[in-house]
């Protein structure tokens, strides 16, 4: 079974987010960019499937700017077998990415598609579901456990109030939540090996898809800051404040 994993290049999660003074967006110039953390979990899960003998090949795909090749190399270093970049200089929104992934998934005839549940930049949480919908596949979002048995996927999902388990016909789309696994550290030998793996670049125009952005960002601002309150002396003073000032108890 071939596994397709989608990854996105985003602002590194440790970098402080700075809004541009002209309110046009978040400043991404000269800051560290990394693989979206949820996508890293998705790649790790695919590698574990292969190590368990359940997957034959892992194809990792990204859609975006040319520098996304670095993100794909990281995925190859974790253990993906080959990479595809669908290169685009125009902004790609989730619907556009889903259409691109559909194209790749159909061409590659994959058995399962694993993505991160959301990207930590736009926080959309859409691409996996949209892809499943476009391809008429079943889906399991927010996965915390994935098992493949008798050509079905059994996925435990994190839902409001607890967990639920679904059984999916393959091919299917699974989106990774935080607790699906802990991605391995990338070793130097694996980084070297990754450099020799195949990385194909396709121009998005060659796919002939409608990828026009549907949603226009008018402005981006910093959130209103919450002002710090007062430090109280002890529990009794706290209760007094909550009862008589805030009136919440």
């Amino acid at each position: 079974m071939k596994v397709l994993v989608a990854v996105k290049r985003v602002l590194d999660y440790n970098v402080k987010v700075r809004v541009k003074s002209d309110q046009s967006g978040v400043d991404l110039a000269n800051v560290k960019m990394s693989m979206n953390p949820f996508d890293e979990i998705a790649v790790e899960e695919a590698v574990r499937l292969k190590e368990a003998g359940l997957a034959s090949e892992i194809v990792v795909v990204s859609a975006g700017v040319s520098q996304s090749q670095e993100t794909l190399r990281t995925a190859l270093a974790i253990g993906a077998d080959r990479a595809i970049l669908v290169e685009s200089e125009v902004e790609l929104q989730p619907l556009a990415v889903a259409k691109i992934l559909q194209h790749v998934a159909e061409k590659e005839q994959v058995g399962i598609i694993i993505l991160g549940k959301q990207a930590i930049d736009d926080d959309c949480n859409q691409t996996g579901q949209m892809l499943a919908s476009l391809m008429d596949l079943s889906q399991a979002t927010f996965a915390s456990k994935l098992e493949i048995k008798e050509s079905k996927a059994f996925v435990t999902r994190e839902v409001d109030g607890g967990l639920e388990t679904l059984e999916l016909d393959l091919p299917a789309v699974v989106t990774a939540d935080l607790r699906l696994n802990e991605p391995r550290f990338i070793t130097l030998p694996n980084i070297m090996k990754a450099k020799k793996k195949s990385l194909e670049v396709i121009k998005v125009d060659a796919l002939n898809l409608d990828i026009a952005p549907r949603i226009k960002t008018l402005k981006v601002v910093e959130p209103g800051a919450r002002k710090a309150g007062v430090v109280v002396a002890d529990a009794a003073a706290l209760i007094d404040k909550l009862k008589n000032e805030a009136k919440v108890i």
Binding site: Q93, L95, S133, Q139, D160, A228, V231, V232
Partner: protein, 310 residues
């Protein structure tokens, strides 16, 4: 213009997140309808008819819709979507699961997690874990939206008199099946809907201490239980206790953070609470920068004292 809301429920009770979605929808459209999809949902439907500002409740009832799986649910939504300018669902696990499926089939973008409606096609939504707020405009003919529940006051759950329209369920190819559910059993208010929340962090040191220190305080003030990601990762409490960017987003009237330092991703999940209390022994902890009332103290002494004195 008319908006359709996909109701959040468990086949028995309508969840209050639906009421917040109604408020958001009434800012988008003059007519608001509610769609209840499930199995044996008569009581949910009658609860929905009482919501203020709702014109009509559409009921689609079928055994294969009992578990709210995304594939059949999306089919039902698409079957009744015609004529609506806005399709909205609360940003719950279910809403987030199904709405992008609907948007993709309609070939439109989705506006996720809106916190404000400026005009029927301009919305505010947090990005970068709430570190920036984007104002976005959708030019699609149908707006598919998920609503961040903490951004909108719930519409009153009484006083309405909506009509009921029953529709037959659409059958689709069965590609997934429900296996099991393991929900945390609790008599407490649900975390995202609670008026009061008490959360514990890693400073507690163990799951036993969480039970010993946090639970009695929550019991005393009738609060839901929460936790930081560090406390969840350390195994003190189950995953669904987690408050933060990757966990639950809460905005209760009172949020008490005990032994939580206040990592940015935790703050993203609770900073819209009305009153925040922080109890921590480290006076430099970032949680104090958002707290209305801070208590710098040894929690093992201060919290039981607080519990007893309230």
């Amino acid at each position: 213009m008319a908006a359709l809301i996909i109701a959040e429920h468990d086949n028995v009770t309508l969840k209050s997140s639906t009421l917040s979605a109604v408020t958001a929808a009434s800012l988008c459209a003059t007519e608001v309808d509610v769609l209840v999809v499930g199995f044996n949902v008569d009581t949910v439907v009658s609860q929905a008819t009482l919501i203020s500002n709702v014109r009509k409740v559409i009921q689609i009832d079928s055994p294969h819709l009992a578990d709210h799986l995304a594939e059949p649910l999306a089919l039902q939504i698409l079957n009744v979507a015609n004529g609506y300018t806005h399709l909205l669902a609360p940003s719950t696990a279910n809403g987030k699961n199904v709405m992008p499926r609907v948007a993709a089939k309609l070939n439109v973008g989705q506006i996720s997690d809106i916190t404000k409606v400026e005009t029927p096609d301009i919305f505010e939504r947090p990005i970068y874990a709430g570190n920036a707020i984007a104002t976005v405009q959708s030019n699609d003919n149908v707006k598919v939206i998920t609503v961040r529940v903490t951004g909108f006051d719930p519409s009153p759950s009484v006083g309405g008199a909506a009509s009921i329209e029953k529709k037959d369920a659409v059958q689709g190819a069965r590609k997934s099946a429900f296996v099991s559910r393991d929900l945390t059993q609790s008599d407490r208010p649900e975390l995202t809907a609670a008026k009061r929340v008490v959360s514990g962090g890693r400073g507690l040191g163990s799951g036993e201490k969480y039970q010993e220190i946090i639970v009695p305080l929550a019991d005393k003030i009738g609060a839901a239980l929460g936790a930081s990601r560090a406390a969840v990762d350390a195994g003190y409490v189950p995953n669904d206790y987690q408050v933060g960017q990757t966990g639950k987003i809460v905005a209760p009237e009172l949020y008490v953070a005990v032994a939580i330092s206040g990592a940015i991703q935790h703050l993203a999940g609770m900073k819209d609470s009305k009153v925040i209390v922080a109890i921590n022994k480290d006076p430099e902890a970032p949680i104090f920068s958002v707290a209305d009332y801070g208590l710098v103290a040894d929690l093992f002494a201060a919290v039981p004292e607080l519990t007893q004195a309230i």
